[in-house]
Amino acid sequence: MNCSTPSFRGEIAKLPLLEIDSLAVDYRTSRGTVHAVNDVSFFLEKGETLGLAGESGSGKSTLGLSIIRLVPYPGVIGGGQIKIDGRDIVALPEHEMQTFRGTKVAYVFQDPMISLNPVKKIGAHFVELIRTHEPNVSKKEAFERAKTVLKNLGIQPERINDYPHQFSGGMRQRIMIGLAIALNPDLVIADEPTTALDVIVQAKILDLLESLRKAYQMALILISHDLSIILERCDKIIVMYAGHMVEYADGTELHGRPAHPYTQKLLQSIPNIELSDQKLTAIPGSPPDMLNPPNGCRFWPRCSCTMEICRVKEPLLISIGRNHLVKCFLYGEKGVQSE
């Protein structure tokens, strides 16, 4: 059951930027405990991009929020380690955690319409952020820096004194991204950053995020239910299902050789304009009730390759190739290490 730290890390000597080890996040509700994230381990180097894919309720947002330790009530980190620059933040006092947020790790939320304080001007958001983390900066200086950031985002600096409701959704998401990168963090977590936006704006926002990431040499965790976006933009991909990491691979590997039946189904459900007679299939059934998840593999009720063992035993995460992990009995019963 307990899967140790993946062995694919190889012989990298230097400390990774982010290292997550058998992380578990639980929601302790009055009706029972939901294991929203279960035994997740991965690491991320500086400047890398990681995609977290999965349906809603798969635990990908919870995973993202746990990295900045903001899992909403009644969620708690139930076990495991989250190391940023080698430092475990799980037990860090709250005031030290606050210095991490915004400077080391920044977060971009899904809905820009409700992510800004409606009674504060845009400029005030920036000034407040800069001066919280760099108390020596004067108000005027912070204001000037905010204007520069806005310019980089493609927003007229004069609009710094406008209120959030005076901006469109796309503009607001640009501002959110600006707030995220303002202090030049090492890692940006973007949680469905374009889901609430128009299709045309979506690509622009993602391009902006990409160019800023490159310019500032940040690492990015992109969380999305849309596997196609992730395939397009991420080096590494984790596919999550019902709180479990069911597959991990490089982008090209995952696209070319998806191993888990769930990943395969996700890929089949992506429309592709180059294939005119493509057969699009939806995944039958719906995600499990997380209060009473099925025994064995959590995907078996919806899987087309269910075997007897899937109903009773939970598969281990096994390696089936270079940097390719999968949690499925199709690739061996005991988790035979093929490498």
Binding site: P118, V119, Y163
Partner: protein, 345 residues
């Protein structure tokens, strides 16, 4: 919409609301009972005396003319400038001008209301914030329990208990009247004793009138604080879950900034609206508090007039309450517009 045009619209909208309110008061006090004069005498007086009173009060006219007199009296500017109060008709008991009596009783109620409101907000809003911050903890349950119990206590029962403790047993505070009877009240400027005594520079009078205010305003404030706790707590809980609060946390902002600058500032708008509505409830509670503490305000005036079956005086006092509530809700709405940039722009 600009702030100015919003304010103008809001003021204009008050006029039909007020007219409606005045009409309803007229319906309840004049039309519904049939004949207030015979009600006043419990049908025991001789017809000539009743006829005389009807004539004196203008109740021998047809109803529509009475209604016209009633509305016209209220907007009669000449009368107002001559007397310093609007024409609310004459008392059935003493045939004095109701307007004068109501206006002289009003400052006492206003003073009580203001101080009660201060106590209720000073107690209720911070406690509500604390409860929401420690959601579902023991502290939250305690504060919530306090709020629920204060809501269920009859105002006058609490008043009597406070009188018993601080007045009868401890002799710390006076249990009635606006100022110690041996002290001459300050000259009337605003009518609020605490303000007037300060304006006069007389600290003895200020001290005495403040002392008299403590128990009544504490009684009413405590009762009201329960509602404030509940409103603040619920609104804070809702606001603390919103994305912009989480987003602020994710930027590493200080807990105090997030709680006050983000959550409370946004929860404040609905709280403000609710406070405006609670003002009406406060005035209801003021009637009972004033009676408990022999506080010579509008509430005690009404209760005394009920005993005399002085229906024209009751009507005048009810109208005064209505005008006051309409004014408060107008002020609250304008404040709201001022605080919320979405309206202000």
């Amino acid at each position: 919409m600009g702030l100015r045009s919003y304010v103008i619209t809001r003021v204009l909208l008050t006029i039909p609301t007020l007219l409606l309110l005045l009409t309803m008061v007229f319906l309840v006090m004049r039309v519904l009972p049939g004949d207030p004069v015979s009600l006043h005498f419990e049908k025991k007086a001789d017809p000539l005396q009743m006829e005389q009173m009807r004539h004196l009060l203008g109740m021998d006219k047809p109803l529509w003319a009475q209604y016209f007199d009633y509305i016209a009296g209220l907007v009669d500017v000449n009368y107002f400038s001559a007397h310093g109060y609007p024409n609310l008709g004459k008392s059935m008991q003493s045939f004095e001008e109701v307007g004068g009596q109501v206006f002289s009783a009003f400052p006492a109620t206003l003073e009580l209301a203001i101080y009660s409101m201060i106590i209720a907000s000073a107690l209720g809003i911070p406690l509500g914030v604390i409860a929401s911050k420690s959601y579902n903890s023991v502290l939250d349950h305690l504060i919530r329990g306090f709020g629920t119990v204060t809501y269920a206590v009859p105002v006058f029962f609490l008043g009597v208990i406070l009188q018993l403790i601080f007045g009868v047993y401890l002799h710390w505070l006076p249990t009635g009247l606006r100022i110690n009877p041996s002290v001459v009240p300050p000259p009337t400027i605003t009518g609020l004793y605490t303000v007037d005594s300060l304006l006069q520079g007389n600290f003895v009078k200020f001290f005495e009138s403040s002392k008299a205010l403590i128990l009544p305003s504490l009684t009413l404030g405590l009762i009201l604080s329960g509602i404030f706790i509940r409103l603040t707590r619920t609104n804070m809980l809702e606001t603390l879950r919103l994305d912009f609060v989480t987003a602020a946390r994710a930027r590493g902002l200080k807990d105090s900034t997030v709680t006050y600058g983000y959550a409370l500032r946004n929860a404040f708008l609905p709280i403000l609206t609710m406070v405006g509505l609670q003002f009406a409830m406060l005035l209801g509670g003021a009637i009972l508090t004033e009676t408990t503490f022999s506080w010579p305000g509008l509430g005690r005036y009404i209760v005394q007039r009920i005993n005399f079956r002085d229906y024209t005086a009751i009507q005048g006092a009810v109208v005064m309450f209505g005008l006051f509530v309409a004014l408060v809700s107008l002020i609250v709405d304008i404040l709201y517009a001022y605080v919320d940039p979405r309206i202000r722009m």
